[in-house]
């Protein structure tokens, strides 16, 4: 198997490197090769493109449409804020998907899907035809869900909920914050990308400020009454950052009435908080291409068939990752990666007659609370009739010993290496 796989990888590289240039690749497969287009090169799309190309061994013509050449993973971007990772270390390119797996990588925005003609329109002009389409655009932010917030305001009050320049901007603002200043986060309402993410971020900001600005305060203004891994985070904040973090649920602050990006004021039903650095994470919905193509429902996300990830409104389109309604699965990179493999298998079976195995779904979310203090939550899922349903779950416990927490953190580092290799080759 190892030999077969290696042989295949070499073969693909040869086709991509030489074959296509000389026209041999086309000649070998003719025009009949089925076409799969993947929109979005994140944990869902990159994985789907890689598995389709790898497992079909060249029998499927795979095109990946992704605007950015350097992709920064949202997962582990909090560790960059905490000083545990460099920005470079969470950046990835699509070079190997092209050179080793033969994926056609197109750096452009997909701006429309003609579902009758089965083509994807590109911002740069032209369109790409498909037999099957994978839509994995991630989330879009609903800026005005927080009164006073906007795309423009994000340069003053970063959301940093898509990793890259926004994350770097937030890190710089934290570093430049006045002594004893206030860092305020407006947390998002459910459902949103990465349920433990805001609270891991609070932990990482506290970790930085504890050393650089120990009299600083952190306030979380949350539209929710509870959050993922709450007991674990609250225990960790008390242990590592006593007195620094204040978490305000909606029942305490009475709702967010408005924010002012110029003054940093956040007005709640209770009082006005003057933030020196504000991190506004608004409500979210499926990436706009999903909405433009009519794939979303009133929830703003895309309903899917649990066993195949096919859109409920178009069987030729599979929606995976944050943009879909995945039942009990959270919106996470791990989930997207898991869903991508199910979709890729189903598509391959439809297009090439390969084996259709039972779908398998799983997720684990690791979070770092402080140095060597890692926690995790995870579950397994099955494709039910109506939705993807949780069948088994686990979570780290409060009061765990330091050695176990360190092991959990090290495990998360290993997972990062694993999933990014699984996405990008």
């Amino acid at each position: 198997m190892g030999i077969t796989r290696r042989g295949f990888a070499k073969g693909t590289a040869a086709i991509a490197g030489v074959g296509l240039l000389s026209g041999m690749g086309r000649a070998a497969y003719g025009q009949a090769r089925p076409k799969v287009v993947v929109i979005g090169g994140g944990a869902g799309g990159a994985t789907a493109a890689r598995y389709l190309a790898k497992d079909s061994q060249g029998a499927i013509d795979v095109t990946l449409i992704e605007p950015t050449k350097a992709y920064y993973t949202c997962f582990f971007s909090n560790l960059y804020l905490g000083g545990y990772r460099s920005l470079e270390s969470i950046g990835h390119t699509y070079d190997k998907l092209a050179s080793e797996f033969g994926v056609n990588v197109v750096h452009d925005w997909a701006i429309g899907i003609d579902r009758d003609a089965k083509t994807v329109a590109l911002a740069g002009g032209g369109s790409v035809p498909y037999d099957k389409l994978v839509v994995s655009p991630g989330i879009d932010l609903i800026y005005d869900s927080v009164p006073g917030y906007s795309l423009e305001a994000a340069s003053l009050m970063p959301h940093a909920w898509k990793a890259g320049t926004q994350t770097a901007l937030l890190k710089n603002k934290i570093a430049a914050m006045r002594e004893g200043g206030t860092f305020a986060m407006v947390a998002p309402p459910n459902p949103y990308r990465c349920p433990p993410g805001p609270y891991e971020r609070i932990s990482m900001v506290a970790h930085v400020l504890k050393t650089s600005n120990p009299t600083a305060k952190i306030v979380v203004i949350d539209p929710k009454e509870a959050f993922s891994k709450q007991a674990l985070f609250m225990e960790g904040w008390e242990k590592h950052y006593p007195g620094m973090v204040e978490w305000l649920p909606a029942s305490i602050h009475g709702g967010i009435e408005s924010i002012d990006p110029q003054t940093g004021e956040i007005v709640t039903g209770l009082d006005t908080i003057k933030a020196d650095v504000a991190n506004i994470i608004p409500a979210q919905k499926a990436g706009r291409i999903a909405e433009a193509a009519g794939l979303t429902n009133e929830s703003g996300y895309c309903a899917i068939e649990p066993a195949t990830m096919q859109s409920k409104v178009d069987a030729n389109i599979h929606v995976i990752g944050d943009a879909c309604i995945a039942g009990d699965m959270p919106k996470s990179g791990f989930s997207a990666n898991s869903q991508a493999k199910v979709a890729a298998m189903a598509i391959r079976a439809d297009l090439t007659g390969s084996n259709k195995f039972p779908p398998r779904f799983s997720n684990t979310c690791w979070s770092l609370i402080a140095t060597d203090d890692g926690v995790k939550v995870g579950a397994r899922y099955e494709a039910g009739e109506e939705k993807i349903t949780s069948v088994d779950s686990f979570i780290s416990q409060t009061g765990e010993d330091a050695a176990l927490r360190k092991t959990t953190y090290e495990e998360s580092v290993g997972w990062y290496e694993g999933i990014t290799a699984d996405m990008f080759g």
Partner: protein, 247 residues
């Protein structure tokens, strides 16, 4: 060991410590040697997912390490070595302090093509500590005959033994490849390990034993317990036969 204890009595403590750092074979104070061995035993935790050493050691992913000193590389009965390791032994590689330290420092650079997927211990002091620890489980200067493993090669201390009809289930490698797509989100298909152990090239019976140990909750990690609980005996066998051949 016995000799080093006698010899060290004549040496001053300071000299002993100096030698512990410089490593001069058996010439070490008892205390310095103990400290070195203690440090080595901690470092050995990185090796434990693949290698066993001590009274109950058996072959696991890697060969057991009892009596390794003075042994020609790649020659233990009952362990399937890489061709590279067997050739290294035929080419004259015999495990002594220097050879082991060099190998531990850079496994794939020292024996190109070894199945040992370990990034290496770069610090010389760490290499020496680890070698000192492993040496505890080899005889002293006078050679004694090799002792065979004390138990079947498929199991490891702590994992429940499985009945033969479970261990001998013939897995379906193609199905195993599909199932493996779930494993490689964390365990890298390339065999690289960093925080999460490599699972490529394991002997199939070992793989089956470990997965059943998670499924029966004899092993702790909740992620692995959850994965194992979702797999049938046949699915575990399929994964085992797939990963066994993945290098």
């Amino acid at each position: 060991m016995g000799m080093s204890g006698v010899r060290s009595g004549v040496l001053s403590g300071v000299l002993g410590i100096t030698l512990a750092i410089a490593w001069a074979g058996s010439v070490l104070s008892a205390q310095a040697r103990d400290e070195l061995v203690e440090k080595g035993s901690k470092l050995f935790r990185q090796c434990q997912s693949c290698h066993q050493v001590g009274p109950k050691a058996r072959h696991a992913v890697g060969p057991y390490l009892n009596n390794i000193f003075g042994r020609r590389a790649g020659t233990l009965e009952g362990f399937r070595y890489s061709d590279a390791m067997e050739q290294a032994g035929q080419g004259g590689l015999v495990w002594d302090e220097t050879a082991l330290a060099r190998f531990i420092g850079d496994p794939s650079g020292t024996v190109k093509g070894t199945r040992m997927k370990f990034r290496g211990l770069t610090a010389e002091a760490d290499q020496k500590a680890l070698v000192a620890f492993i040496r505890q489980h080899s005889p002293g200067p006078s050679n004694i005959p090799e002792t065979p493993p004390t138990a079947p090669v498929h199991a490891s201390a702590g994992d429940p033994d499985l009945p033969e009809h479970i261990l001998s289930i013939a897995g379906d490698s193609a199905y195993g490849e599909y199932l493996s797509s779930e494993c490689v989100t964390c365990h890298q298909a390339s065999g690289e390990d960093k925080g999460i152990p490599s699972i490529t090239s394991w002997p199939a019976r070992r793989f089956v034993t470990v997965m059943h140990a998670y499924r029966s909750k004899h092993r702790e990690n909740p992620v692995m317990r959850s994965v194992a609980a979702s797999l049938t005996d046949e699915e575990i066998a399929s994964l085992a036969v797939y990963f066994e051949t993945l290098e």
